[in-house]
Point group: C2
Amino acid sequence: MNFTPAAFELSISRLIDAPRQKIFRAWTEPALLVQWWGPHGMTTPECEMDLWVGGQFRTLMRAPDGSEYPTMGVFLEIVAPRRLVFTDAFMPGWVPSGKAFMTAEVVLEEEGGKTRYTARALHWNEEDRQAHEAMGFHDGWGQSLDRLEALVTQGMPD
Amino acid sequence: MNFTPAAFELSISRLIDAPRQKIFRAWTEPALLVQWWGPHGMTTPECEMDLWVGGQFRTLMRAPDGSEYPTMGVFLEIVAPRRLVFTDAFMPGWVPSGKAFMTAEVVLEEEGGKTRYTARALHWNEEDRQAHEAMGFHDGWGQSLDRLEALVTQGMPD
């Protein structure tokens, strides 16, 4: 699959030496997700997911200084083991959230016995895209991805 | 079902003397939808729907003076014959649209042999809710509903 970058997109891609089923599980099982979610130094003490379209996806990250970063959204598409889409534009029941900031898409493709991992953050306007970039999108998602890669290549049974 | 009004909501409700299956069909079959969509005086020369979650829902209304009003969105939830949710926040492929203005929910409930029809328009902020009200939400959706009611009670075979 080749992506045409959408307007207002940020993305990150990496070839991971693990089957996509493991990566999909690491994304969709809360007990696994909390082991890698967030940049280096952060922990994720809370994760709840209702893994159906319209279901809640909630995490709480905690920084070393104790400050907390909640995220909250709903799933838009779940196609195991290859595609996951969620957005903060809605709360459960399709109630518009305080702010439609981002829709995230994770795509897992087989590539030469490994998995091409692509995560995209799509925004409604250029201002939000730039704000997300300035918040450290590439470092943050990249460090999360380091931790995810370590988990699926070393820390998770088949 | 009792709704707790969401923030930034506009809604319209009516008891219609027709089974909800007919109303649901009038909402989801383009050949039927074009017969009632839009306020009095408007026509709807075009309607396309891909009736799955994430699928496109597109209409084109035309006023007597020839001016055209396109609408475009995607379906978020389809539960025949009782619930339909769509939003203009996305284009197909979950690409954020130019503007997340509205999410619409149509709920059909059985009530004493008739159908309680409720349509809600949910907005992301008070400014958009007021703009939609000023655009004539109640008259426009009410006149559409008059035409829908006439179709399902008189103009449609069982």
